[in-house]
């Protein structure tokens, strides 16, 4: 069951990502990104991280991507033209991608023994409440990073307000 979900939604995520690059209309690209986000959420859920999956759907697909689509709609962005692209992307991009691929496969293959025996998502099985564990962790051991992140977001909001009010 888990394997079937992984294959279907992994393929969907890859297809969405490719479509995002190949589509010429920004709205279609944005919607492909939504598909990618949703497929990732399903993958998280199948690994037992249900809260992460819900947060992914609500925050990324439900809020951030709606905002993207909104902006694209309001700007009335037209179709993009295919340009040859920058020279740097070609010279660095392909070797870079190949290097990352090699590095990842090297790590996975060399750690194969450890990965085979590890129970992915085992700590997050539905027998134990996922959210209780997460919140206990966030408010005890990770309290400082959590609060600092909140302050960071607050600063971003204040910055946005300052920028928006400047014209008056």
């Amino acid at each position: 069951m888990q394997l079937a979900l992984f294959i279907v939604f992994g393929a969907l995520a890859l297809g969405g990502a490719l479509n995002l690059l190949l589509q010429r209309h920004p709205i279609h690209s944005a919607l492909s990104l939504v598909v990618v986000m949703m497929s990732l959420a399903v993958l998280y859920w199948s690994l037992g991280a249900e809260f992460l999956a819900a947060a992914q759907v609500i925050v990324y697909s439900g809020a951030i991507m709606v905002l993207f689509v909104f902006v694209i709609m309001l700007l009335n962005a037209g179709k993009e033209e295919h340009t040859p692209g920058s020279r740097a992307a070609y010279t660095v991009g392909f070797p870079g991608a190949a290097a990352i691929f090699c590095l990842l496969s090297f790590v996975f293959l060399s750690e194969r023994g450890a990965l085979m025996t590890s129970n992915i998502g085992g700590d997050l099985s539905s027998a134990v409440d996922n959210i209780a564990q997460l919140s206990a962790m966030l408010f005890t051991r990770q309290l400082l990073p959590f609060e600092v992140t909140s302050v960071l977001i607050l600063v971003a909001i204040l910055g946005a307000v300052v920028l928006a009010r400047k014209e008056q």
């Binding site: 709205i27 819900a54 809020a63």
Partner: protein, 353 residues
């Protein structure tokens, strides 16, 4: 039955449950429309639909047939795939949320719970997530129609839904704090002890949260007094101006399906779900397995029905808000109130616990 494996039984019963819930929800949608037309008519001293069948009871079927048979027009300038996808997203998301709603008490047949399609640990978050995806249906319909009224209507609607989603989500935090879980069954069980007295709205002292939820729910479903997206004197018909036939019917059904979902959530979170109004007072009365399975479902349906009637009553009573009033009400009143409710609730729970 014996030659099927456990998984096959689970699969068969699940598919059956999905089919039954789908049919009942769609029928519910059709008859909510009729209920609304009838009740509104009586509030305005009219009869409402009365010609088709006894008391007009067959009206929804005839309306459905009409929508099917009408010509399905596609304007030339629309963005074709998205124009067709939009109503499907709207209706699909409206129906998917029903999958985590527990309709009755836990009743197991062959190990499968009869009255809930999926018992998910994060049921509440699933409903919120699916609702937030439903916004795409409206956004895309307005944009792909290539019509200024549609675009303005969908912009209004999307902005309204995003704004009120915040208050909606925050109003539910108090309930979650009390139940200490996002599982809908656990939330219902936390209100089961003394019937009406232990409902979150009364015994749980979450009436402020209920008020916020009520307002936000009206706005989320684009219903009066917040039905600005389809203010016909300003926007023709809003985001579904260019839609006809079955595609229009899908938006229409999505609106009523959303109403039913919102009523279900209100019932589960504030009105004790499928538990009896009288608590355990009449537990000895008719204590058979069948009655114990059926009575909770009846309570649930009665509560949802009452909430739907409230929806219609409000529509028949209140005039429409102005758009700036809507936005300032949501952001400057409901949102701070919801936050204050969370602080007070968690403070009291911390002191008592």
């Amino acid at each position: 039955v014996n030659h099927l494996t456990n998984f096959e039984i689970f699969l068969l019963l699940s598919v059956l449950k999905v089919a039954v819930v789908l049919v009942i929800t769609l029928l519910g949608v059709a008859y909510t429309v009729l209920l609304e037309r009838k009740l509104l008519a009586r509030m305005q001293n009219r009869w409402g639909p009365s010609r088709v069948g006894p008391f007009g009871l067959l009206q929804p079927l005839v309306d459905g047939a009409k929508s099917f048979l009408k010509e399905d027009m596609n304007p030339l300038a629309v963005e074709r795939p998205l124009f067709i996808l939009a109503p499907i997203i709207a209706l699909g998301c409206a129906l998917i949320s029903m999958s985590v709603v527990p309709f009755g008490a836990v009743t197991r047949v062959q190990g499968v719970d009869l009255f809930q399609i999926a018992n998910v640990n994060i049921g509440l978050l699933v409903i919120l997530g699916v609702t937030s995806i439903g916004v795409y249906g409206i956004t895309l319909s307005g944009w792909s129609s290539n019509n200024k009224y549609s675009l303005l209507g969908s912009l209004r609607s999307t902005a309204q839904m995003i704004s009120y989603e915040l208050s909606l989500g925050l109003s539910l935090v108090g309930v979650v704090l009390r139940a200490q879980s996002l599982n809908l069954r656990v939330i219902v069980d936390s209100q089961a002890a003394h019937g009406m007295l232990s409902w979150n709205i009364f015994g749980g002292f979450q009436f402020v949260a209920f008020f916020i939820y009520l307002m936000a729910a009206f706005a989320e479903t684009n219903r009066a007094p917040f039905d600005l997206p389809e203010a016909e004197n300003e926007l023709v018909a809003g985001y579904h101006t260019e839609y006809s036939s079955m595609k229009f019917a899908m938006f229409f059904m999505a609106e009523y399906a959303n109403m039913i979902t919102v009523s279900c959530v209100a019932t589960l979170l504030f009105l004790g779900g499928s538990t009896s109004v009288f608590g355990h007072l009449f537990d000895g009365f008719l204590n058979t397995p069948v009655a114990n399975a059926i009575f909770p479902v009846c309570w649930f349906v009665a509560k949802v029905f009452a909430f739907l009637a409230l929806y219609i009553w409000v529509r028949g009573t209140l005039p429409r808000f102005r758009y700036d009033q809507l936005m300032s009400f949501g952001w400057k009143f409901l949102l701070p109130l919801a936050m204050a409710n969370i602080l007070v609730t968690s403070f009291i729970l911390a002191v008592r616990g």
